[in-house]
Amino acid sequence: MSDLLLPPEHRYAKVIEERRNEDGSELSVLNLGPTHPATHGIFQNILLMDGERILDAEPTIGYIHRAFEKIAENRPFYQINVLTDRMNYCSSPINNMAWWMTVEKLLNIEVPKRAQYLRVIVMELARIADHLICNSILGVDTGAYTGFLYVFQFREKIYEIYEEICGARLTTNMGRIGGFERDWSPEAFKKLETFLHDFPIAWKEFENLFERNRIFIDRTVDVGPISAEKAMQYGFTGPNLRAAGIDYDVRKATPYSSYEDFDFDVPVGKSGDTYDRFCVRNAEVWESLKIIRQALDKLPEGAYHADVPDYYLPPKEDVYHNMESLIYHFKIVMGEVPVPVDEIYHAVEGGNGELGFYLISDGSRTPYRLKMRRPCYIYYQAYTEMIKGGMLSDAIVILSSLNVIAGELDA
């Protein structure tokens, strides 16, 4: 009598009643989430079940809605970086850099080559960290805990590199308008080299553990497939779209931050099922490593930030001893900087797809309107359709293979 939990006007109630009259069988209603352990983050789905099969699902989101867009309208440009950190917290640096690039586009700032390359390095590191979480958690959900414990050590290594660069682990708040707040220390490069040496060995092992694993293949192949047309209709971008066979990648389509200088492939899948999504992410990690290697080898000397005293805070010791620096410092902090009136859209390839910032500036120190195009929010709509007709256990696997990040979903 699980339908008693629903209000009588609910659309499930009718289906249950019909089915009961038809052949006397009982459909059940299952509430999955919002604090279900197998859903990473808080998503609620009310499922209509026929035994183990899912007939229908009704998603509810917004459980960590934090009103990013509202806050953004009340904060100066340099403080919005704090919000972007907490959006897709698995790959904060990508969000940070995306935001700075948007602001730089608005202010017409040319970033020096060195800073651009450094940004590429840190963005690709973040992508590795993002895919690493997604794929290892997919392993956990299919019953393989080992892979997670193994590769998570390397996530710690990535965190250590972040710490060398900016001092924080997860919510990095990295970068400034025009570049970085300081040049990277030799220690950061040393750690990066160690990472580039050790990580591929572990990642190869991780791949071997899964890609030809009978159990894993049985659990993921043909689970939650989505066709290319459907994926496009639902606004998929990023690895999930590429798994369906479309090679759209913002890094290739509209290169930013000197991505055109690097040689890398865009891995694509075929059927868009869970296994393909897993493999595309695995392959992307290799491409990211390739990009980091190239960027390190070609890393030019020079300034690590653009020479824009209007927007880039002067060094603290100058502020204390130098009149001009003090004036600039004061102007930036008090928001008396010239900002053009304009509308900007800038997109980068985030961990989950096209991460875009649509920024409307009215010339004041805060954005007039900042719309964040959050890839998760857009493609999570397809989840209902993807799990329909499948088993309950598959729904969990599909969710983790989509890599829906609650912070990005709800903003």
Partner: protein, 180 residues
């Protein structure tokens, strides 16, 4: 060979040949403190740091929290990690109500403790508005070391808690003030 296993020290007591006498309170506290089963209520960023805390490098299991209990009924400590929005608050409360006594709560991170940077219409300004909290862990997000430290602080609390505390009028009054 030197034994590297770190054993929990026994509480104060009187020992003689073949017996050891101590207070029941201390024994219960000792047992409880070293087998705290966490219920991770992970909503956002801090949840990722909790994953790191549970993973190989920091390994919360060393402190007796090996078994992550996703069912509130078998959990001892509720670890609230991440922003709790007003939409989420009733659910958090329900989870707390489903836990059986004795239960403890750790608010991990600035958002759970005070709302953090999100002073907005949709965010609950600290979970202590809806449930009582024992330990607050600052940070946005806290490092895994800090989370581990928070758990150790809670262990201290648990160790020294009287077995009668949960029946005391003060405790009942506390719950009543939250309408629990």
């Amino acid at each position: 060979m030197e034994n590297k296993t770190n054993m929990v020290a026994p509480p104060e007591g009187v020992s003689g040949e073949g017996f050891f006498a101590t207070k029941l309170n201390d024994v219960v506290g000792l047992a409880r403190a070293n087998s705290l089963w966490p219920l991770p209520f992970a909503t956002s960023c801090c949840g990722i740091e909790f994953m790191a805390t549970m993973a190989s490098h920091y390994d919360l299991a060393r402190f007796g929290s090996e078994r992550v209990s996703f069912s509130p009924r078998q959990a001892d400590m509720l670890m609230v990690m991440g922003t709790i929005s007003k939409k989420m608050a009733p659910i958090l409360r329900q989870v707390y109500e489903q836990m059986s006594e004795p239960r403890w709560v750790i608010a991990v991170g600035a958002c759970a403790s005070s709302g953090g940077v999100f002073d907005t219409y949709s965010v609950l300004q600290g979970i202590d508005k809806v449930i009582p909290v024992d330990v607050y862990v600052p940070g946005c997000p806290p490092r895994p070391e800090q989370i581990v430290d928070g758990v150790m602080q809670l262990q201290e609390l648990v160790k020294n808690e009287s077995v009668r505390r949960r029946n005391s009028p003060e405790y009942k009054e506390l719950l009543a003030s939250y309408n629990l």
